[in-house]
C-alpha cells in the first residue's frame, strides 16, 4: 500500500447519517481548494462533488490508521499523521481545516457512527489480512481433511490436554495484549537454548487457552524462568517432582480476574489455569523440554500441567510477597518457584499463634524428608482462618518466620544415617551439629484461600535450592 497523501484525509461511509449530513461540507472544502482526500468505506460514489475519492471498501487504509468512527478527519504532513478529529462539530471542523463558515444550516454537532473496520468479526478478519505479515513464525497449512485440534496434538504441541489451534487471527488478537513488539526477544529457553520472541510466547499462550490480557503475565513468567538464578534447565532435567510455580501479586491479579480465594491452588479459574500452562508449553515447544526427553522426573506432579495462583493481598495480615521481595506496593509481579506438589496442614484447634506456629513447624519439618536440613526451600500458604490467629495476636510475618526458624533447628543426632531406624540421613560427622531446616531466605510465606477451613498448605521446593540450584525469581509485569 502506498504512503499517505498529504493534506486532510476524510473517512466516511454512506450508511452513516452524520457522513450523509456532512457530504455537502466535504464538497464545499474540495471546491475551496482544500487538499482533501476522501476514503469511502461502502460506496465509491460517495460523497458526490469530491473528485479525490478513494475506494476503501477493502478497509485497508481504515484499518491501518486505526479508524474507529466515521466521519474522521486526519491531517497528514510529509506522510505522517499530525492530528485527527471524529464526528461533526462545526467549530472543530472550521479550526481543523482553517475554513470559516462551514455547513451553514447544519446542526452544530452530530456524533459519528462506528467505522466498518471495527465491526465485530470484520476487525479480526482485517487483522489477519493486513497484520499477519508482521508475524515471523512458520505457517503450517493443514490438509483439507486434517482436524486442527488433532493435528496440534499429533505435532507434539500439547501437554496431553486439548490445545487451542494457533491461527494467525488468534495470535494477532493475543499480541494485542502487550505493547511489546512481536519480534522482541523475551529470553533464551532451555533446554535447547532457543531465543524466544514475544510472538512465540503469544502462540503458546493461544495453545494454552489464555486471553490476550493475560499475555503480560505470561511474558513476565517466561522472563523469570530464563533468569540464570531460576535454573530452569536443571529444574526440567531433574528426577525430582518440581516444576515452575507462578505466584502473582499486584493490581494485575484483579484486572485479569485471577483467583486468590476459594480453591486458589485448584482448578476452575481461566487466568490461573492458562497462565501456568502457557509457561509449561513455552518450555515444551520453544525450548524442546519434554517428559522422557530432557524432563527426567521419576513421578512428576499434576502442577506440571499448570501451577499459578494469586496472593490474597487484601485479606492478608501481612505485606505481599512482592513487597517483601523489594517491589513497591502497587507494582504487579510474578514470582517463580521450583515447586513440588501441595501438602496440606490441618490444625483446627490452635487459637494462639504459638500453638499454630508449632503445628506449621511440625509439618514443615517433613519437607523432602524429616531428616533433611537446609536443602529444600518451601512456600507456606496461610489461609484466611489461620491468618486470623496471627492477625489477632499482632504477629508480623517476620515474627512468624522467626518462631518457625526457632522450632526448625534439627538436632544432629536425629538426622544422621541410621537414626530413628532409618538408613537415610546425614553422615555421622553431623551428630553434634544443629542445622536449620531451611536456609536463610528459603521459606516464603503468602496468604491465599477460601474463608472457611482451618487448613494451610506447604508447597515444597527442589532439594537443589539456592545458588547451586534454583532461587525464587520475581519479575515485574509490564504491559
Amino acid at each position: 500500500m502506498r504512503g499517505l497523501p498529504d493534506g486532510i484525509l476524510a473517512f466516511v461511509k454512506r450508511d452513516c447519517p452524520t457522513c450523509t449530513l456532512v457530504a455537502p461540507v466535504l464538497a464545499e472544502l474540495a471546491a475551496r481548494g482544500v487538499p482533501l482526500t476522501v476514503y469511502t468505506q461502502d460506496d465509491p460514489d460517495f460523497p458526490p462533488g469530491v473528485s479525490a475519492r478513494v475506494d476503501d471498501r477493502a478497509l485497508e487504509r481504515s484499518w491501518r490508521l486505526g479508524i474507529e468512527a466515521v466521519p474522521t478527519l486526519v491531517r497528514v504532513e510529509s506522510g505522517k499523521e499530525l492530528e485527527r478529529i471524529v464526528g461533526w462539530v462545526r467549530e472543530e471542523w472550521e479550526a481543523f481545516t482553517g475554513q470559516p463558515g462551514l455547513g451553514r444550516g447544519l446542526p452544530a454537532y452530530r456524533p459519528g457512527c462506528g467505522s466498518r473496520s471495527v465491526e465485530p468479526g470484520v476487525a479480526e478478519q482485517l487483522a489477519v489480512r493486513f497484520g499477519a505479515a508482521r508475524l515471523r513464525a512458520r505457517r503450517i497449512e493443514l490438509a483439507e481433511q486434517e482436524d486442527a485440534w488433532e493435528s496440534a496434538w499429533e505435532r507434539g504441541w500439547s501437554d496431553g490436554l486439548p490445545v487451542v489451534p494457533p491461527t494467525p487471527g488468534r495470535v494477532l488478537a493475543m499480541l494485542e495484549g502487550t505493547r511489546r513488539a512481536p519480534d522482541e526477544v523475551v529470553g533464551v529457553i532451555p533446554p535447547d537454548l532457543v531465543e524466544c520472541s514475544v510472538e512465540k510466547v503469544a502462540i503458546n499462550a493461544v495453545l494454552a487457552g489464555c486471553k490476550p490480557e493475560y499475555l503480560p503475565v505470561v511474558l513476565a513468567a517466561v522472563e523469570a524462568a530464563c533468569r540464570d538464578a531460576f535454573c530452569m534447565h536443571g529444574l526440567l532435567a531433574t528426577t525430582w517432582f518440581s516444576g515452575p510455580m507462578i505466584v502473582v501479586n499486584g493490581p494485575v491479579r484483579r484486572a485479569i480476574g485471577m483467583n486468590a480465594g476459594v480453591n486458589a491452588l485448584g482448578q476452575g479459574n481461566r487466568a490461573n489455569a492458562t497462565i501456568g500452562r502457557a509457561l509449561q508449553l513455552v518450555i515444551r515447544n520453544v525450548g524442546g523440554g519434554k517428559p522422557g526427553g530432557v524432563d527426567r522426573a521419576t513421578l512428576g506432579q499434576p502442577g506440571k500441567y499448570t501451577f499459578c495462583f494469586a496472593e490474597d493481598e487484601e485479606g492478608s495480615p501481612w505485606e505481599p510477597l512482592s513487597v517483601e521481595r523489594g517491589f513497591a506496593p502497587g507494582v504487579s509481579t510474578v514470582t517463580l518457584f521450583a515447586a513440588g506438589g501441595v501438602q496440606g496442614i490441618l490444625d483446627q484447634l490452635s487459637r494462639t499463634p504459638e500453638s499454630l506456629a508449632a503445628s506449621f513447624a511440625a509439618c514443615l519439618r517433613t519437607v523432602t524428608h524429616p531428616k533433611f536440613p537446609v536443602a529444600t526451600d518451601a512456600f507456606l500458604v496461610v489461609s484466611p482462618e489461620h491468618a486470623r490467629v496471627f492477625r489477632e495476636a499482632g504477629w508480623s510475618k517476620a515474627r512468624l518466620r522467626q518462631e518457625l526458624a526457632g522450632r526448625l533447628l534439627l538436632d544432629g543426632k536425629e538426622i544422621v544415617r541410621g537414626a530413628g531406624g532409618i538408613a537415610e540421613g546425614f553422615p555421622e560427622s553431623f551428630a553434634g551439629a544443629q542445622l536449620p531446616k531451611f536456609r536463610a531466605g528459603g521459606l516464603q510465606i503468602v496468604h491465599a484461600g477460601g474463608r472457611a477451613g482451618l487448613f494451610s498448605a506447604i508447597i515444597p521446593g527442589w532439594p537443589a535450592s539456592g545458588p547451586l540450584g534454583s532461587d525464587p525469581v520475581s519479575v515485574e509485569v509490564r504491559a
Binding site: P165, P166, C196
Partner: protein, 94 residues
Amino acid sequence: MSEPRILLDPTGERRPARRARAPRLPDLKGRTIGLLDISKARGDVFLDRLEQRLGEAGAKVERFRKPTFTRVAPVDLRQEIATRCDAVIEALAD
C-alpha cells in the same frame, strides 16, 4: 466460523546441525582421558575406580568437576577438557 486452515508453529523451529562423531581412540596407551565429575553424591567413588582402571590400561587421567550438577558445564570447562584431553568420560551419580 469455518475451520482454520493455517496454524502458526509454536516450536523453536530449530534445525539441529548434524556433525560426525569424533574418531574413536584405537587404544588407551599414552592417551589423556578426562574424567568429569558432575558434582553429584558419590560420583567420585565411580570415577576413582575408573581412574584406577584407566591407569592400569596405560592412560593418563585428568580430573574435572562441574560447579553444580543443576547447570550445564561452563564453556571454559568444556574448552579446557577439549584442549587437554583425547577423550572424556562424564559420570552421573546417585
